[in-house]
Every structure is written in C-alpha cells, then in structure tokens.
Subunit: 161 residues, 2 copies
Amino acid sequence: MMGDYTREAGGAAIGARLRRLSAAFDGDVARVYAALGISFEQRWYGVLNQIVLRGPTTVGDLATALRITHVSVSQTRQSLEKAGLVVTQSDDGDARRKRLVLTPAGQALVDRLTPLWRAFADAALALDAEAEGLAVALDRMDDALARRSLFDRIMDRAKAP
Amino acid sequence: MMGDYTREAGGAAIGARLRRLSAAFDGDVARVYAALGISFEQRWYGVLNQIVLRGPTTVGDLATALRITHVSVSQTRQSLEKAGLVVTQSDDGDARRKRLVLTPAGQALVDRLTPLWRAFADAALALDAEAEGLAVALDRMDDALARRSLFDRIMDRAKAP
DNA sequence: TGGAAATATGTAGGCGGCTACATATATGTC
DNA sequence: GACATATATGTAGCCGCCTACATATTTCCA
C-alpha cells in the first residue's frame, strides 16, 4: 500500500509528501507567471479572487474564507497595497475593520489574468480527475483529524513508555 | 465531489489544501516536541533517520533519498553540526564529498527519541488507514505530474487566448 | 458609566523549503 | 598534461505561511 520511501521516511512520510506536492504546485504556477512575463505574487490570488466574488472584504473575513491566519492576509494586503492593486477603506462604523477594495489597476489586472486563472483551474481539475480520489481522500483526512488531532494521537501513543 | 471551498478558491484549491494539511501535520509534530520539553528541529528527522538506516551519508545522497534539494540538506547539516549532533567527515578519496556522521550526543538523542518516532509512525499509519486511499491517490497524482507537469498543462491551455 | 472582556488588525521573528549563483574537486578528451 | 565539462557542496536571498505578542476599538455588564 505504501511505497519504500514511506517506510524509509518513517512517520514524516505523509507530511513530507504533502509538503513536496504543494511546493511542486506552487513552483509550477510561479513558473507560468514568469514564463508569461507577469509580475504576480501567488499569495495575491486568493485575496483578489475573494474580492471579485464577494466585493470589498475585511482582513478577518478573507482569512476565514481562505482558511489561513489573519496575519498572512494582513501581509498580503500590505503587498497588494504597495503594488497599487488594492486600497483600504476604514468602513462601516466599526473603526477596527478595514475593507480591501480593488483599485482600477487591480481591476485591470484581474480582467487580464482571468483567462489564465481559468487555465489554472482547468488544469487542476484535469489533474484531480487523473489522481482519482485525491480530493475525497483529503476530505477523509480532514475528517479524521477533526475527530482526533495528530497531536492527541501521538501523545496517546507516547504516554506508554 | 469537490466542496464549495474548491469552487470559491478556483485553481488554487488543491495546492492550498495540500499546503494547509502539511502545515497542520508540521504544527502538531512541533507541538509534541514542545509539550515533551524536547528541543528538536523537525527538519533534522529526515537526515538523522537516513543516517541511522544507511550509516554515514553524503549531502547529495541525503537530498536524493529525502527528495529535497541539496541546499536544504546542507542547511540542515549546518544546524545539526551547530547542535553537536553530527560531524562531517571529508572522506573517500573524493574530496568533494562530505559524509555526515552521528556524534555520541547525536546517537544518544536518536536512542532517546526512537520510541517517540515510533509513536509518530503509528499515528501516521492509523491516520492513513482512516483517510483510506490517500497514499494511493497521492501516488496517482505523482504519476499524473510525471506524465505531464502542471506547468505544461497550464501553458497548453493558456496558449489559446 | 466605567472598566473587563471580546474582537479586528498589525509587528517581529521563525520555519522548512526553494532558485540562482558561486566554489571546489574530479573526469574525460585532444 | 591541459583544459572543458561534470559533479558535490555552499551562500544569499526569497516564499508563503506560522506563532507569540502588541495595539486599537467595541461590547457587555455590574
């Protein structure tokens, strides 16, 4: 069921495989932007995509939607502002919240990259189909970890010395 | 087949899921060491494990076995040397190669942590069983990427404008 | 109404990888 | 035997994300 590498790598195997695979994805996506001469940071995508889908959105809501920390979103926001793609609106009546809004330049970039992003999505869907069952297996892993975290599972076993 | 998040996240979904999952694994493993009061860098594991399995080993062979770059191994080696767990032997008759050898302190740490690493491996195997088919699906993804890289797949689709 | 607690965001520093480039040694070929 | 090329390792600097902690604002309740 599991290859030689898994046995050799011990308990680190699954984590290492997932890390390697996600890094491979990231690398190839970065190479696409580079090959097309587009200056684009990958971490921008999630935030821009959410703003397109939902309109002006706060840091916290973006973090929730993207399932990353607000800190990462905050850093991405700074980067997007520096690049002139997004501005911040102190909005609402709640002065703690900041809404991220596309600038005209941001909208133009989104319009320009939308066909490319569709190509990404198509390629990812095709890959997912070829790696039949990957998404479902990832769902099952999420469920298993929700039932009992890896931390707890290890500590259970580490108790008996 | 794929959840709402996938649709919302677009093409970044699989990559993001893999990244998040591997980070979750890393985080929980780090928490285990912390909870047990053990000062241990995770990236040490792969190198130490390989040295235990194969005896003194070179940077390049470790990189191949662990499927990471020689640069990462080189950095890990520095860290292991600074921690006094490993020393370098300029060996062979080929003065380019450096073999990494466990120090007594390194061997003692390995002996001490071996039961914990077994707990890691057991927990990972149990998780893999619960997330039935994950390892196999990852194999299929590796195969699919070997047939044609994500880069090529995207560029194929990006050509037609 | 005046804090205490909750919520939203930001800063500092770290992690395990990576690419691009540099250096040292070995090998093969004319 | 000299020199081009291949191989082994190292350095600099980056990436996307993280935790721990700090700050600003709002809300709740005695």
